[in-house]
Point group: C2
Chain length 288, copies 2
């Protein structure tokens, strides 16, 4: 496995591949868990070469967010990447990605406004901008993203479509712990109590699926009200949003259908967690 | 010469070129004049293949601007492109470039705020966005832009640098009529009187160069005040801005130096015209 740290090295590596070589790319912020490794395995299966980047992207963090304490473990990440069959691991430095005079941003307007975009102003613009940079540096043919950050995946898909990036975007289903908690690098922030309380998210998704299964025309408001009431009664869970939206447009829905996704964000103690799930049937994220 | 109208056709054409083929790209809004042809000749000399696009980009026009009456002559443009040795001419349809759900934009913040950006809100975002799309569709190795739109060239260079597009941006000196008027597709709007009055721009640049040549530490304010006073006395010229800035940053300067560029915009009758020029020595735009 090649470990490269400069943009020039990456371009040279990419330029040395034979014409027609397919390249899968998994952009990450490191501190790998099974979710990351599943994305890499997917990428390795899809393409001739597999590239992973680790970059804790400063411009997608707000001033009060956890940029400085975001968990990092470069050595372990390198070992895991090697084991999973990564061909090239890109570890750029922040000052090489954002020079002094940096001033360009990409916005995906409608998809970025609600949900996490409302709570985290500038977040999705920071994500879209760094993804565009990484695409231009690496020139992948395919990029694999997790679907825990459901809105992020929608924003990236829309940017790729609108700006005509020649990259196929593949979404991958959420990887969960045995008890259902969605895997996240930020789970390391959870203490013992918070780790139990965090199950509120997955339990809400399962309960919503049960409610939706029982009725043909299930009003979305009944489900989200149920979640809000359960959160209000919970002493340590603060609900940020619970919304049922169309998977493609992220527009709110009246009644549950096969495109309905429940989006959830809440604070469990001091830790902000998100989760989501389709409410009817199993869905392959790749066909979204 | 290939004439292609869909993104898929362009990708197939580009994909059929041998690995390592260099591709020069000249994005235009058509209605070619000697300025466009000079950019194409430059591109042809620099690279193995030459691609030109003609697209009157709706998102860079304001609601009160001249999108609908912007001059067009596709047949003549095709003949001229063929004569100059264009390999592929891309003529996209507006609805293929901007679908119903289009919502992504690129902003280059500081460089877009003053001058034409102040008079034409959204203009440079529209330019940056379409240039990014065209780069992603065509994958050129080099792109050639005229320097009459000096601020546009600065914005494109900054976007390419900030988003790591693997494209070399080349600026080309302004091509002028015999009497000094900068060539522009919009010159066709000028009637006989306005055509004479339009020389105000080039005469202002020549006069500024003379003023700068006479003094070692020439205050920029003396030159711009002189231009403003001459415009005020002119019955048919309305000055929009006259500014002396650093060529790279577009920041205002106190005194003239080798990086000083005079930027000019004015209305001559109903027609808006822009022009610019370095105030000391000849400058090759490519080294900017």
């Amino acid at each position: 496995m090649k470990i490269l740290r400069t943009i020039d090295e990456v371009r040279r590596w990419r330029g040395s591949l034979a014409q027609g070589t397919t390249v899968a790319f998994v952009p990450t912020m490191g501190f790998f868990h099974q979710g990351h490794l599943a994305l890499m395995e997917k990428g390795r299966k899809l393409c001739d070469r597999l590239v992973v980047s680790i970059f804790v992207n400063p411009i997608q963090f707000g001033p009060t967010e956890d940029l400085d304490r975001y968990p990092r473990d470069e050595e372990r990440d390198c070992e895991l990447a090697e084991q999973v069959g990564v061909d090239m691991l890109f570890l750029p430095r922040a000052d090489a990605m954002y020079g002094e005079n940096f001033q360009t941003s990409i916005s995906v307007d409608r998809l970025s406004t609600g949900f996490c975009g409302a709570c985290r102003p500038g977040h999705f613009s920071g994500v879209a901008t760094v993804v565009a940079k990484l695409f231009n540096i690496i020139s992948p043919t395919t990029a694999v993203f997790g679907s825990k950050d459901f809105q992020q995946l929608a924003v990236v898909r829309q940017m790729v479509r609108d700006l005509d990036f020649p990259v196929a975007v593949i979404g991958h289903d959420i990887v969960r712990e045995d008890d259902g908690l969605a895997m996240s690098s930020r789970n390391v922030y959870l203490d013992e109590q918070a780790r139990k309380d965090a199950l509120f998210l997955y339990q809400s998704i399962c309960r919503a699926r049960q409610m939706a299964a029982g009725t043909k025309e299930m009003p979305c408001a009944l489900i989200t009200r149920d979640i809000a009431e359960r959160a209000a009664r919970h002493p340590r869970v603060e609900l940020e949003y619970a919304a049922i939206v169309h998977a493609g447009t992220l527009l709110p829905q009246e009644t549950v259908d096969s495109r309905s996704v429940l989006l959830l964000a809440c604070r469990v103690g001091p830790v902000r967690l998100i989760d989501n799930g389709f409410l009817r049937e199993a869905h392959d994220q790749t066909s979204m």
